[in-house]
Amino acid sequence: MEPRPRSFYLLTAFFVLFVVFLYGPTITIGILSFQGPQGGLTFPMRGVSTYWFHNLFQQQAVGDIWGAFRRSFALGLMVMVATVVISVMAGLAFRKRFFGSGALFYLTIASLVIPSILISLGVGLIFNQIGARVHWSTSGLGAQLTWTLPFGLLIMFAVFNRFDKRFEEAARDQGATPWQTIRHVVLPIIAPSILGVALFGFSLSYDEFARTLLTAGSYNTLPLEIFGMTTNVTRPVIYALGTLTTVFSFLIIAGFLGTAWLLRKRREMAARRAG
């Protein structure tokens, strides 16, 4: 191996700083959430305790945190399933150029770049006008899908652009029907990427704020609930909540990544056995 140029060390230092910038604040509130009962929003620590976490479980005066969590979790699962199914179907559709596919593609991109508050406002107005009540599981679900679907579709595009068509041709040559080819050849090959789509679907929904703001109705999702609490941040209880939801997000991400890794490992082993 050739020796590292000096720029490598400079850039490594830059990268380390960037990672500190990225994670530093999150770690800080992680530490501060263990403040003692008399502790404030900044250092120094006045003792170490889990007081604020207990506080989170006891008091319901600030709102319905656990109800909000349950709703966010359920909505995340709904968005995840919808995103996976719709993105995979659309991804398969886009493999062949069909009449109008260009327009549909740009519409999907538009869905991504349109300011979120416009979706929130527009969906709210429509529900208002047709006399329907906005609810997180109807208008909220639809509004969040306009955010998660473009990501799902972009991932599918990246996957199918790199997809080796010879696998399919082999299946077809051996007499597989189109559905069999998809079910037994295409889907297993793209399974790790589908996990990626699922992870995006769940996480983006679980943390979504702007598109849910006017479309969730009278029952808040967790980000809305947290934002409601920020109007008067005076005690570390909000750090405790932030730490808990971040840990939850990390666990979800780790779960997905671990599953994807296992899938790959199992496939490698199967390939080795097949020799």
Binding site: S7, F8, T12, F14, V19, L22, G24, P25, T28, L32, L41, T42, F43, I86, M89, L92, A93, F94, K96, R97, F98, F99, G100, S101, G102, A103, L104, L107, V113, I114, P115, S116, I117, L118, I119, L121, G122, V123, L125, I126, Q129, G142, L149, N161, K165, F200, L204, D207, F209, A210, P223, I226, F227, T230, G242, S249, F250, I252, I253, L257
Partner: protein
């Protein structure tokens, strides 16, 4: 060959161009002069179209119901009138007249563009450097993947929590002020660290640099390494390789990142509201304030102007990049 194929499918402009390779063999055969297979190929084009729309129909339904219709609704409502108690369908330019003649609007749009430009510059510089490091200085794919994940994971956690997490750093008695006082650089805590334009931009950079890193890294990792070898063999310095080879070839990624960052910042209202402590204004906040006051027609008119601005910017940027090809 492509021209032959195009003539045969010919179902419309959408199907023209680089058609799916899978359909090529039939097209070729037909091109040698078998009218019957030509008809078959045309039939296939229709079948492809039907199949395509059938598979994409759930996507179409969601986008129509929750993207197209809402925008149409906003455009319609922007011409309505608001009374004290209700909004009334009408066709009036009053909202726009008020909006476009108010100096507040222009100032707020100016501030929004300023936030967007400053954030764009910073995220581009940081994002490009990080992507360059990952793509050209990390030698194993495994390490690249790990470091790339390190950069992307925060994107999947809550933006609001990430904003809140700046409080202990930037607050009056926060880490930054305490450190600066201890070092003897300042005597008084700096007041402009939190709840200021500074903290707004800082949060934007914190939240959105990822949107630069991912597309630029993606483009960079596809640059043919032999081009860089060739440049080096011809005596180019590292800096010359960067400016003459890597940056020009990374342009598509830079464009996609730019589209992301500009639209996210232009459409934001929550970061500006929270990080400025409600002291700074941008277009998103203008809209959300109107919504809070139930002034939907006025909010809609502002939304339409914002949408047109954002679409114009994207329209210009899209001329420089073919997104579909870059994925």
């Amino acid at each position: 060959m492509e021209r032959v194929h195009r003539g045969l499918t010919g179902a419309g402009p959408g199907t023209a161009g680089a058609a799916a390779p899978a359909a090529m063999p039939e097209g070729q055969a037909a091109g040698r002069g078998h009218p019957r297979s030509a008809r078959a190929a045309r039939g296939r084009g229709t079948v492809d179209t039907l199949q395509g729309w059938a598979l994409a129909s759930p996507l179409v339904i969601v986008l129509l119901a929750f993207l197209v219709l809402p925008i149409v609704m906003i455009v319609a409502v922007s011409f309505w009138q608001a009374t004290e108690f209700a909004i009334v369908p009408a066709f009036s330019f009053e909202n726009y007249a008020f909006l476009l003649t108010s100096s507040v609007t222009w100032r707020v749009f100016g501030a929004t563009l300023q936030f967007a430009l400053i954030t764009w510059t910073l995220t581009l510089l940081i994002g490009f450097t990080v992507a360059y490091y990952l793509a050209f200085h990390i030698r194993t794919t495994a390490m690249q993947t790990i470091l790339f994940l390190v950069c992307t994971v925060p994107f999947l956690t809550s933006n609001i929590i990430r904003m809140i997490s700046w409080i202990p750093f930037l607050g009056r008695n926060g880490i930054a002020n305490q450190t600066l006082i201890e070092l003897g650089i300042i005597d008084q805590p700096l007041e402009w660290l939190l709840y200021s334009d500074f903290s707004v931009v800082l949060a934007f950079v914190h939240l959105y640099t990822l949107f630069m890193i991912v597309p630029i890294f993606n483009t960079m990792s596809r640059i043919d390494r032999s081009l860089i070898e060739a440049a080096r063999d011809n005596g180019a310095s590292g800096w010359q390789i960067l400016t003459n080879v890597i940056i020009p070839l990374s342009k598509p990624g830079i464009m996609i990142g730019t589209i992301f960052v500009l639209t996210l910042v232009m459409g934001d209202f929550i970061t500006v509201r929270f990080m400025s402590g409600s002291q700074s204004a941008n277009v998103g906040r203008l809209i959300s304030n109107d919504i809070a006051l139930l002034q939907y027609p006025s909010a809609s008119a502002t939304s339409v102007v914002l949408l047109v601005t954002v679409l114009l910017i994207i329209g210009v940027l899209m001329r420089f990049v073919n997104i579909r090809k870059e994925l």
